[in-house]
Each structure stands twice: as C-alpha cells, then as structure tokens.
C-alpha cells in the first residue's frame, strides 16, 4: 500500500509539484493524468528517488507498506520493492545489451547468482511474450521492447509499480496489448500501481482510481468510473470532452483554449482560471484546496 502526503518537488525556486496527496491500495491502480508540464512525471520520479540534478523533494511523506520510503530505503529496494516502467523503451534499454541480460541484471543487482539470474530472466521474458532473449533492443519491435521494460520492472515482485506513460511511445495497435500485460502483471504481483498518462480515456478504462493534475497540483481525484461519468472539475470535463470519439456528432472538437502554464509562470489562485469557462472572481486570488475529491471553487458551490 502506497501513501503519499503533501508531496512537493522544487527545482530551485520553481515549484514543480505542490502538495500532492493520494493513496493506492495493494493490487489497485491509480491513474495519474495531466498534460505535459503538469508535474505528473516529476511526482512519480520523486517517489522512486530518481529526480535529476537540482530537483529535490522539498516536502511531504511517502510510505510504502507502512514504513517511510526514504532515500536510504529506496537505495536498497529500488528494483526489488519498487519497479519502474519507462516511457520510451527505445531509450530506456541499453542498446548494447541483450534483452535477457538486461532483465537478468535486476536479479544480479539484488544478489542472485549468475546462472539462476539468467534462467529466471529467460523464463520471465517468455512469460511476458518475448521469446528472443538474446536479441538486442534494436532487433526488437517497440512493443517487444516495452515488454522487456515491464519484465525488468516486475522481475522481483515489487510492492510499488510505477509506469510512466508506458504506451505513449507505441503504436495504437500495440498499446492495448501492453496495457493488458501491465494489468495482468499488476494482478499477479499485487503491487500498488501508479500509472502516469496524458490520456484520461485510457486511464478511466483501466485504472481503479484517477487523480488529475494541473500545474503541479491535484485538481480532482476519485474512482475511475465516477470521474468518467461525472467529472466535476472543469479541467477534467474539458479533458474528457476533447477526446475524439467514434460515432459522436460531427463538428469541431472542443478544445481547451490557451496553454498549460510553465511551472515558473504559474497563475495566482487556481492555476486553471485563465482557461476556465466557469471561472469566478475568487478563482484568481484564492487557491482551492482538494475537498471531497475536487479542488474548484465553482464545483464547491454546486
């Protein structure tokens, strides 16, 4: 079980993630949704302790299965209790290492002998659907590479599985297969899973809970079914509406006017107010807190 309280991440003076809190039960999946720049990737990297130079976790508590997930603990359990699936499998696999060896490396790092590591790696790869364990990444298709990435993440049965936009870099036809693989892996390991995505639709279909992020803050949280049926935050609504749908009425797609703000140029009050169709006067000055699963002055009045 993963518990995140008031997580904040800063890079110098710029706030990238501001007071994010959520919890994920073992075996459940949370979909963390937002546009690029919303801080979603930064937030999960902070969970894994993989922030880059100059970016630090400035506040908040994270605990996994009851005990705090400190940097010290992370250094020991990364790869074992915490698994990470990266976004672009062409970049996250070492181009000079065979697929089997890359999976075996996880075992080796955590004390497994060479022969056994190899055996387990080959078996695991076969299980996720990659038979060519002696292949190099460039010899595999995008989908196969991501399967290797998933194998690496689940090899030691993690308690926390983080998937950073695992299907974004893949063909649409392959996305479904990979999602299926991810879900079955999650069920089998019983890990608390956080899946980051910019695709609310995808998340709503597969995740148990959804958390929507905008400009570093959570704007809406709740069960996936509830959010996709009745989104309360204007941003969430707009996200759902702007997705093209088969069989929908013709006409121009609704677009959210404007652009997501750069972290260093965050609007005052509610960060979404310049683009919000329901903006009130107080939205420009007072930042709404997450109340009852939504952070919006307009929604609070309903």
């Amino acid at each position: 079980m993963l518990e995140v309280q008031d997580l904040s991440v800063t890079a110098g003076k710029t706030v990238l993630v501001d007071g994010v809190s959520f919890a994920v039960a073992a075996g459940a999946m949370l979909g963390l949704v937002g546009e690029s720049g919303s801080g979603k990737t930064t937030a999960v990297l902070a969970l894994a302790g993989l922030l880059q130079e100059g970016v630090v976790r400035s506040a908040g508590e994270v605990s996994l299965d009851g005990s705090p997930l400190t940097d010290a603990r992370l250094a020991k359990v990364r790869g074992k209790d915490v698994g990470l699936v990266f976004q672009d499998p062409s970049a996250s696999l070492d181009p000079l290492m065979r697929a089997g060896a890359q999976v075996a490396e996880v075992y080796r790092v955590h004390g497994v002998g060479r022969g056994e590591a190899r055996r387990r790696a080959v078996a695991l790869l076969a299980k996720v659907g990659v038979a060519r364990h002696r292949a190099f990444p460039h010899q595999l298709s995008g989908g196969q590479r991501q399967r290797v990435g998933i194998a690496v993440a689940i090899a030691l049965g993690p308690r926390l599985l983080i998937a950073d936009e695992p299907t974004t870099a893949l063909d649409v036809t392959v996305q479904a297969q990979i999602m299926e693989l991810l879900l079955s892996a999650q069920k089998e390991t019983g890990a608390a899973t956080v899946m980051v995505s910019h695709d609310l639709d995808l998340v709503a279909r597969h995740a148990d809970d959804v958390a929507v992020m905008y400009a570093g803050r959570l704007v809406e949280t709740g069960p996936a079914a509830k959010i996709s049926a009745r989104p309360r935050h204007p941003y969430t609504r707009a996200l759902l509406e702007s997705r093209p749908r088969l069989g929908a009425a013709r006409g121009p797609l609704p677009v959210i006017p404007g652009q997501a703000p750069h972290p260093s140029a965050r609007p005052s009050g509610c960060a979404f107010h310049p683009r919000c169709p329901l903006a009130l006067a107080r939205c420009a000055t007072e930042t709404p807190q997450l109340v009852g699963g939504v952070a919006c002055w307009a929604a609070a009045d309903e």
Binding site: R78, L84, F86, L96, V109, A135, Q139, L140, S141
Partner: protein
C-alpha cells in the same frame, strides 16, 4: 546426428560450411587491399616516371654513366609506358621491389625484418591509450564538475596540442640526458621502448580521454542509465557497465583512423630516438636515395593500413551490434 534431429528438427537442415556474409566481407576486403596498394604504388610509379629521369632516381647521386645506362635498360625505359607499367605490376605481384642500395639485398625482406619493432611501438601505443585513456575518460566524466575532472580534461586538451617530435625532444632531454633514468637512443632493450611509446602515445591517449569523457557524459544523460538506477544499480555499475560500453564505439572508430597518424608519427619518433624500425629505415632510405626501400616501405604500410581497417571493422561490430545486418523495427 539421429539423436540430435529428434530434439531439434531443424538441425538436420544443411548449413554452409562458411556463412555467406563472411565470404562476402573477406572478398570486399581483398578488393580494398588490392585497390589501396595498387593505387598508392601506381601513384608513386607515375610520379617516378613523369618527373625527370627514373633511372637517375633509382641509381641516386654519384652514379656513373654506366650505372645509369644499366638501370635504364633494366627498367626498360625505352619501352612504351604501358609496357613498363604492366611490368611494374608484375613485379608488385611477385613482391619484387628491387634491391636496396647499399646492401644490395632485396628491398622488401629487409623492410619486413624491421617491421616487428615498429609494430611493437604502435601496438604498445594503442594498448596504453586504451588502458589508461578509457578509465581516465570515465573519471573525467564522472567528476566533471569537480577539480579532478577538470584537471584531466585540461591536461588532455594540452596533450592533444603538443607536437610529438617536440615532446620527444623534451622527454629525451629530461629523462634520458638530465635524469638518466632511461636510455636515449637505440632499440635493443625493453627500456628503449618507454620513451618512444610515451612520445607516440600522448596525442592518441589525450584524444581517447576526451572522446570517452564526451561519450560517457552523453550516455549518462540518456534514460537507460537512469533505468539501471531504477533497477537498483549503483553509480559504479552505471558508469562502467553501461555508460562506458556505449561511449566506446566512437573511440574505436577514432583509433582505427588514428593508425594512419601513428604510422606517420612513428617515422618521426623512430628517427628521433634512433629506434630501428621501418620509420627510421624510411628516413635512412631517402637520405641514401634508396628508392626500392622507399617503395617497399610504402607497400608494407599500405598493407598494414588496410589490415588495421579490416580489423577495426570486425571489432566495431562486436562493440556495437547495431552496425550491420539485422534490425527489426
């Protein structure tokens, strides 16, 4: 075979003794060798025959009129140019480059006798450059913000700039003449190789350090290095088992092209230290107007260059499997 085919049915399918791609590669390299060697030698041949009297060049200064006439006839300089060229090609095919002036012995064997010393020098240079250069480069990349990293990078930049014969003179002065730690001239003992190797190696070493450093920095910025940390790997593993191997292919490519530079450099270094390899032999030859030896040396060098290039190609594929045959998508 019967038992084998029960377990692996496709093993009974006949496989060629030597894979086709290997044959093809060898054929390509054989052609390259021929073209390179012939190209260079033809160039020399043209130069010789189109600029004044070839007989005079072959005989050298101090040759009498009879010598000139004899060589004139030997070379068949009265015959049409094409005939002469074909005769020349025949000589090359038989590896006959004439006789060395002074000794009167066949030119090519004499050059080949000195070849091992030169190869020792070049090989030692390459080994030193890799064995010392790669770790220093990794270190320079890992500590690039700190003092050590900057010192290494700075020293390497300086090392690239010092001309090898200048360095040789300095080393000779300091270590051989002033301190007396190492012998100055000659090539008889292993100690005689130390200064020549250092002199020859500095540029290559410096460049390897800088290339490795750049490659490692680049690799570290990529996702796959972060992925290793996500697996639980430590800094050391990321640096040495992932960043360095990925930084290596360009270094290898550089080393292959650097061989040309090394062979040129060995001429200067051998001359400076009176080290008896083919480089010094070449300088002696030109001073004695010994054209056959010059030609034989050029031939030998051409073969070495092609051989190294071929070797580099093979090693390149091992170092970076992305080069070449398969690729799925």
């Amino acid at each position: 075979m019967a038992t084998a085919s029960l377990k692996r049915p496709d093993a009974s399918r006949a496989r060629p003794a030597v894979p086709t791609w290997l044959l093809w590669t060898v054929a390509v390299w054989a052609v390259r060798l021929a073209v390179t060697v012939l190209g260079i030698l033809t160039l020399l041949f043209a130069l010789l025959h189109l600029s004044g009297d070839p007989a005079a060049v072959m005989v050298g200064p101090g040759g009498s009129a009879e010598d000139l006439a004899k060589v004139h006839a030997q070379l068949g300089l009265d015959r049409p140019f094409l005939d002469q060229y074909l005769a020349f090609l025949g000589d090359v095919a038989r590896l006959d480059f004439g006789d060395a002036r002074g000794t009167g012995e066949a030119a090519l064997p004499a050059v080949l006798a000195k070849l091992p010393l030169t190869l020792q020098l070049v090989a030692a240079t390459l080994v030193v450059s890799v064995a010392v250069g790669l770790p220093l480069g990794v270190l320079a990349a890992a500590r690039r913000e700190g003092t050590l990293g900057r010192i290494i990078a700075g020293a390497a930049a300086l090392g690239q700039a010092i001309p090898n014969f200048v360095l040789g003179l300095v080393l000779l002065l300091v270590f051989a003449l002033w301190l007396g730690w190492l012998p100055s001239y000659g090539s008889t003992t292993p100690a005689h190789t130390v200064l020549p190797v250092i002199t020859l190696a500095l540029f290559t070493l410096a460049r390897v350090v800088l290339l490795t450093r750049a490659g490692v920095i680049e690799a570290l910025s990529q996702d796959f290095c972060r992925a290793v940390v996500a697996k639980g790997g430590g800094r050391s593993r990321v640096l040495w088992r992932h960043a360095l191997p990925n930084a290596f292919p360009p270094v290898l490519a550089f080393l292959v092209t650097d061989t040309g530079y090394l062979l040129s450099g060995t001429v200067l270094v051998e001359q400076l230290y009176a080290y008896d390899g083919i480089g010094r032999g070449l300088v002696i030859a030109i001073n004695e107007q010994d054209y056959p030896t010059v030609q034989a040396t050029v031939f030998t060098v051409a073969v070495i260059v092609v051989a190294v290039s071929a070797l580099g190609d093979v090693l390149g594929r091992v170092a970076d499997p992305r080069v070449g045959r398969e690729s799925a998508g």
